[in-house]
């Protein structure tokens, strides 16, 4: 039967969310002939709709439903209602992401074994390893057209990269290049080459950056096997007396509620909404939330150890010109406890426009110390630090019953406090970032605090043993045989790398698994 599908059609796979996880999974299943209904809370925006203006774009794309924060992280003080900067739209946060596409390192799948017992950290080995993931990474790189893989050229370096590169070379760093980016360095796959426009975070108006919004989603729809229902916000997952999921309740754009029946349900709403949905789906059979017999749903929330370093020079840089994140130093990504912490971090070029720089350079700051920094905006270079943070059981998503969303459901609370390892790693990265810029003549540097989270991970972690996590090696819930988690919330640990490539690789792999289980008649 071809799309659109009937609400009572219980042969369909329902995918909740259409980003890097859900969008890819939905298309991959559709390509294999599986009937899919994808429910997306946001609307549909395409390159012609994207806006080269930071605040206007933020208003267009950002997920702004009520959320609360707690814990020691500075975001809870400066942006108490905005723990994460992620997208509510068809294609999810693949509209906003910068395109950095790095494979995990082998040891990052085995952190409990490699790092040992780090006090206060809930480290666990993934039930899979790099060798198993390599063919899926290759498929993901091919799908996304990642530069510096599969014979594809790297992107040219912009001004911001040239400053980073010169400083990094001065320090003796070796692994310095314009990144492995899901941004075309040449026309490919019906998409333009990068035009060095900047505004990568606001949606690529050329479509040079891969986004599910204009690749996987329309291609899935073209098969006739995928129906994407936009502005369809899932409220609850339903199950039968045997504990198998049977469908999902969602609100459409007018707030009317519908029940879509399902053979399989795949949750891909990002690491805040996915556990929230499972918790909001509590029932007599699953009193602590769906798939939560381990008590791990919502726990081990990770956001990467992040921070930025901006530097002012005596001459112009104009860092905003060109690809935002096409520049990387990888030498510190290794695991080397002699630095005073486990795990590692990447340094990647980053720029903000003037409006966001004013909001994020030093939130709450005022006076001349702050404004003289902005006065030198044209002469600034910038980098982003992204490193592995420690999973902690107490960093978690919970339901805040004091705050209700537009559907009357409890809003998610995001609690986060840095682990001492995160702090030690950030301080090391600040020091190295500052040294890079000082090596090429920076007159002033700014160790800038983390922004609202863009990498949200780990809240439905993958585990070998059902006691330790929420899903198994396929992203399948330990407790519910026809329920899957398909986004970054299934990450057991976070690794140092930007997560999207791994989310996409896992989604391609999961589609293969689901289709195979369905054809074997066991799903």
């Amino acid at each position: 039967m071809a799309a659109p599908f009937d609400l009572n059609d219980d042969s369909v796979v329902v995918v909740i969310g259409t980003g890097a996880g859900g969008g890819v999974l939905a298309n991959e299943l559709a390509q294999k002939g599986v009937s899919v209904v994808a429910l997306e809370a946001g609307g549909r925006y395409l390159p012609e709709d994207y806006i080269n203006d930071e605040w206007e774009s933020f208003g267009q794309l950002a997920w702004l439903d009520p959320r609360s924060t707690s814990g020691d992280w500075r975001v809870a003080k400066d942006f108490s209602g905005l723990p994460a900067w992620i997208v509510k739209a068809v294609g999810g946060t693949t509209t906003h992401w910068a395109g950095a596409s790095l494979r995990f390192q082998p040891h990052e799948f085995k952190t409990r074994t490699t790092y040992g017992n780090v006090q206060g950290a809930n480290l666990l080995d993934w039930p899979i390893d790099l060798a198993e993931m390599e063919p899926w990474y290759e498929k993901a790189e091919e799908k996304l057209g990642v530069t510096r893989t599969g014979g594809r050229e790297g992107l040219p370096g912009n001004n911001n990269f040239k400053v980073l590169e010169a400083g990094a070379r001065q320090l003796g760093y070796k692994e310095v290049h314009t990144g492995r980016m899901a941004i075309n360095s040449a026309e490919r796959d019906d998409r333009y080459a990068c035009q060095q426009t900047g505004f990568c975070f606001q949606g690529c108006k050329w479509g040079a950056k891969w986004s599910a919004a204009y690749t996987d989603i329309p291609r899935g729809e073209a098969t006739g096997n995928l129906e994407v229902r936009e502005r369809a916000h899932v409220l609850r997952i339903e199950h039968d007396a045997a504990g198998k999921v049977t469908g999902v309740l969602y609100a459409d754009k007018d707030g009317s509620q519908h029940l879509q029946k399902a053979r399989v349900v795949c949750v891909a709403g990002n690491s805040i909404e996915s556990p929230r949905l499972l918790l909001n789906s509590a029932s007599n059979l699953f009193p602590d939330g769906l798939a939560n017999s381990s008590g791990q749903v919502g726990r081990n929330y990770m956001r990467h150890m992040t921070g930025s370093v901006y530097a002012v020079f005596d001459k112009p840089v104009r860092m905003w010109r060109g690809t935002t994140m096409a520049g990387i130093v990888q030498d510190e990504a290794r695991h080397d406890p002699s630095r005073g912490f486990v795990g590692g971090y990447e340094l990647e070029t980053l720029s903000l426009g003037l409006p966001f720089m004013a909001a994020f350079l030093d939130p709450g700051a005022w006076g001349r110390e702050f404004t003289t920094a902005l006065d030198s905006y044209e002469n600034m270079a910038g980098l982003w630090i992204v490193g592995e943070d420690m999973p902690q059981e107490t960093n978690r998503i919970t339901l805040n019953h004091d705050i209700k969303d537009q559907y009357g459901l409890p809003a998610p609370n995001v609690h986060f406090t840095d682990h001492p390892n995160d702090i030690a790693m950030r301080n090391h990265a600040y020091k190295q970032g500052i040294a890079i810029y000082e090596a090429v003549g920076a007159t002033r540097t700014f160790p800038t605090p983390p922004y609202p989270s863009t990498h949200n991970l780990g809240t439905n972690r993958m585990s070998e043993n059902p006691r330790d996590g929420v899903v198994n090696r396929w992203g399948r819930a330990h407790d519910v045989p026809n329920l899957y988690v398909s986004d970054g919330s299934q990450f057991t640990t976070g690794a140092a790398e930007n997560p999207t490539l791994t989310i996409v690789a896992l989604a391609i792999r999961q589609a293969d698994h689901i289709a195979s289980e369905m054809s074997r008649g066991v799903l």
Partner: protein, 174 residues
């Protein structure tokens, strides 16, 4: 003198254009209130003229950019000139003036040195009034497209074809 008048008139025109688009309550009239340096002018609908002038000085003291003319600070705070917000702003500015008087000045605007005004602001930076004004300025001031060129920021670039042929890699001093 001619130069001053021209400058003043241009500023008013710009202000008028911007205000008309943003807020009907903000009207330039013949009986406009002019700041002490006469670089900008506006008629207030709900606030005392002196209150608005104090608010503009406060905005500049919070985010001082010596190359940004007053008109942009006026645009950034003009949203407080509403029936709804007037009482809060009048009370906040009165508290600021009282603090200035406590230091022996006639009022906040009478303090000559920025450092002394900033000291007063530091003393009230946890107040709801200060935080509202400061927080509002982050977008009210820095999201004005007209101020971007003063920082060198170029804004939208897609319609110009990006920077691929316009200097994305033109750095020449490394």
């Amino acid at each position: 003198m001619t130069e001053t008048l021209t400058h003043r008139n241009m500023t008013r025109r710009q202000l008028l254009a911007r205000s008309a688009a943003a807020s009907a309550a903000f009207v330039i009239g013949p009986g406009f209130f002019a700041a002490s340096n006469a670089a900008w002018a506006m008629e207030v609908a709900h606030l005392k003229p002196q209150t608005l002038a104090t608010l503009v000085q406060m905005a500049r003291d919070i985010y001082p950019h010596d190359r940004i003319p007053d008109e942009h600070y006026v645009v950034a705070v003009k949203g407080y000139d509403t029936a709804e917000k007037a009482a809060m702003v009048e009370a906040g500015v009165a508290a600021l003036d009282a603090a200035a008087q406590g230091k022996g000045h006639a009022g906040y605007l009478a303090i000559g040195w920025e450092r002394e005004r900033v000291d007063l602001l530091r003393g009230m930076e946890d107040s709801a009034f200060f935080q509202a004004v400061r927080g509002g300025l982050v977008t009210g001031l820095y999201n004005q497209k007209a101020v971007w060129p003063l920082f060198g920021y170029e804004g939208e670039s897609y319609s110009l074809g990006g920077y691929i042929d316009r200097g994305f890699d033109d750095i020449n001093w490394l």
